[in-house]
């Protein structure tokens, strides 16, 4: 093991030892348990925005987001109290009541697990500050369907200093008017976007979705149960990024990169992510 000093805390009454600097999420996982996460992404810095990962820490007035809070020696953490479960259920209800969560598998799973009933807010809805936005189809590579956006900031982080250093998108507006925007509501081709699709790779709700996937869903032909994943190496440059080709009916329908790959950490460039349509070009038949 490394020389990093460790500290001891308690998770649900069980002692656990973690390296100093670990988050409560890491401590909880080290204790063999888990908490739900939405805005958290393993290769991005945590921001503690969605609040679904809250846990109870003895002595703390309010609940504590496990993804971002550092573990301290002697902390007593409770991951599944009624108070915690109430907050998690409410977070899923509030998100479901304000967005289209139908293609957000994690959110749906947590909503079911915590017994969310978003429909109980329906009778009082006066229309949120913003009307439901229509999907933005302003380029051939990916679609922004912001009605599905839960504002987890993952795309903004991936586009910015943590991964891509492109800074094409940011959160604009405030409160319920907050939204992901390239600035002045520009289209993506007019923006600084380089179409690496790394924002798409980290989106948990299909608010950002490859155009092919979007069109196939619309046509009713997208079927993950009929897809297999073929691992290969990107043919374009000498870096040799590992690719996962998602293949349905013997055609590539989406390309991703494994998160645990030390070279890409799941991120690609425009060529690797979107440059595969030539495989099915008619002139090659």
């Amino acid at each position: 093991m490394s020389d990093v000093p460790t500290l001891r805390l308690e998770v649900d009454g069980e002692p656990v030892r973690v390296p100093e600097g670990s988050t409560l999420l890491e401590a909880v996982r080290a204790a063999g348990k888990d908490v739900p996460t939405l805005c958290y992404h393993p290769v991005l810095e945590p921001i503690g925005a969605c609040r679904i990962c809250v846990v109870e820490v003895e002595g703390s007035r309010v609940l504590v987001p496990a993804c971002i809070r550092r573990a301290e020696a002697g902390m007593r953490v409770w991951t599944d109290t009624p108070r915690v479960r109430l907050s998690r259920r409410m977070v899923t209800e509030l998100l479901q009541s304000s967005t289209d969560a139908s293609l957000a598998p994690e959110l749906q799973r947590y909503a079911a697990e915590y017994g969310a009933r978003p429909q109980r807010w329906e009778p009082f809805r006066q229309g949120d500050a913003s009307p439901r936005p229509a999907p933005k189809l302003d380029n051939e590579l990916y679609v922004r369907d912001l009605d599905r956006c839960i504002l987890c900031y993952r795309c903004v982080r991936a586009c910015g200093a943590e991964v891509q250093n492109t800074f094409a998108i940011a959160v604009a507006g405030r409160g319920l008017g907050a939204r992901i925007d390239p600035g002045f509501d520009l289209s993506l081709p007019e923006s600084a976007c380089v179409f690496c699709g790394n924002c798409v790779a980290v989106c948990p709700t299909e608010a950002l979705v490859p155009r092919t996937q979007f069109e196939m869903r619309r046509a009713g032909t997208w079927d993950e149960s009929r897809q297999r994943v073929v691992t290969t190496v990107c043919p374009y440059c000498g870096v040799g990024c590992k690719l996962e080709l998602h293949v349905q009916d013997n055609r590539i329908v989406r390309v991703t990169a494994p998160l645990d790959d030390p070279i890409t950490r799941g991120f690609l460039c425009v060529k690797g992510r979107f440059g595969w349509t030539y495989v099915h070009a008619g002139s090659r038949d």
């Binding site: 921001i47 503690g48 925005a49 969605c50 609040r51 809250v54 309010v62 609940l63 987001p65 971002i68 809070r69 108070r83 109430l86 907050s87 409410m90 977070v91 509030l94 998100l95 009541s97 304000s98 109980r120 009778p123 009082f124 809805r125 006066q126 949120d128 500050a129 913003s130 009307p131 439901r132 936005p133 229509a134 933005k136 912001l146 839960i150 504002l151 250093n165 492109t166 800074f167 094409a168 940011a170 959160v171 604009a172 507006g173 405030r174 409160g175 319920l176 008017g177 907050a178 925007d181 390239p182 600035g183 002045f184 509501d185 520009l186 007019e190 923006s191 600084a192 976007c193 380089v194």
Partner: protein, 623 residues
Amino acid sequence: MSSELGFLQGWGVELERLERAPAPAPEEWQALQGVWGHLRPEERRGRRDLLLPALRALQAARGWISYPAAAAVCRELALPLAEVYGVATFYALLATEPRPPRVVHLCDDVVCMLHGAASLQELLQERLGSSLPDPVHAPHGQATGGPGTDGAAVPAVGWSRSPCLGQCDRPGAALVGEEVLVALTPQELDIRLQAWLRGDHGPPAVPTPTHLGWKGDGTPLLLARCGRIPPTSLREYCALGGYQGLRRALEIGPQATVAEVERSGLVGRGGAAFPTGRKWALTAREAPPRYVVCNADESEPGTFKDRVLLEQDPFAVLEGMTIAAYAVGAARGFVYVRGEYPEAYRVLAAAVEAAQDAGYLGNRILETDFSFHVEVRRGAGAYVCGEETALFNSLEGFRGEPRNRPPFPTQAGLFGRPTAINNVETLACVPPILARGGTWYAGLGTDRSKGTKLVCVSGHVRRPGVYEVTFGTPLRVIVEELAGGVPDGRGIQAVLCGGAAGTFLPPDQLNTPLAVETLQEAGAALGSGALVVFDDRTDLWAVVERVARFFRDESCGQCVPCRVGTQRQLELVAELRRRGRVDGELRALLEELAQVMRDASICGLGQLAPSAVLSGLRLLEGR
């Protein structure tokens, strides 16, 4: 050109695009030069903290921020357009689409709504048509402004609704450019509107001073000079005891200064009541550079005491800040003044200059080795920036979103450095504590609440104003004796204690002494020190719904419990109001939501958003 922008290399696409953007209009360019003309181009790059001043200057120059102007800001500060737009659209006083050069921001918050805000609104509607779109809640896909909209024609005058402008002692308030109009009647507003539509400036604003008063041991302490001397006269400030506190601090040294403040028992006056001396001690033990920040973003509805201090005794605040800087070992400080307080900004900026000229600020203060430089910065319409970590982000040029804590400001605050951030009133308490001793100060007030407190009384009282009382004074004495009680022989229905983030108290709780511990026992909180009085004719439903709307409008949107929760809370309150009674099932739903907002929101805004709403409903339920 690209070589000049080496800082930007690495995001070439953005750079190319920014260089293709049209040049800004001459007045826009001039406004930007006013912000950073004194800096060489390479010195501007990376100065993200100049972003909000630049956006404010563009807004003032033209009435909105155009795409070419935003692109120029990006080039000059080396910032991406998306982020500049993200910051610009965070603030209610900034617009990114064509807007009239003159906008009337009419207060329709709880106090002004008791005093005819609706009739002022009707007049504006009649003369100018609908209010302008809310720039921070622009509907998806309808945000405009981008390339090509520059030539759009705009009328000469527009209007929008504003949250509390901090003029509750003189309700009927509107912010128009760099001027605040108070005690407006429809007739007076109409005269001004006609002048503005003709292109004239209109009659000068009539100064109506805030009523001041005091009662109890040690008073007037904070109000002693207010209204008695010209606010920017350093000589008169010193003649009335000014800068004795700083001289004493410089004599006894930083550690003894912290000890003196600890001994005084002074706690923060911004609402959280954290011990000031302890905050300073925690900051001082961290590694330099350290900062001192004065939180002058007073935006709590019903609160206007910091405005009075800044406008009438600015040197007291600066002296307190200088003592704080000496105590924690800071060489630089910032005052963050609410964007809606133009007069406070003007007075404070003049006071900073006078203090610098006289050697009370700047290098080698009073011929010691201690140097301290203060910059005054302005907000642009966001209540959440009063939250200290949101304030840091705003000062640094980011969106005013609160940070998760820990780390606390004393560990990692402004620019990630250890920071002592104190409220205006807290800092004004410091000079007399140093001059007369912490023990003397601790002798005032109750066992657990030391000293005196400024209380803002507004609503249905004969003499709304700022009153200084010794801690322990019963609320009833403040409301009835100092503020003259409710006029027209009416009874009190409720008192909102602590502003929108506070609690509605029934009249039978007015015997509660004003102190942190007694108010806590009464299920309330001292908060910012606002008391809004509602007589027995008030439609309390309307007030509770307005408070709910306030939080919906002011939520930054970062965390789910607050972003969506404040909207759902507003909807439930509106539904209850329609039904005219507090329905058990809806009430349970609201309580459930409230618990989650309190438990899981990132900052105090979301955590306190249900407080007044629930206490108001309790009163309505009890009928």
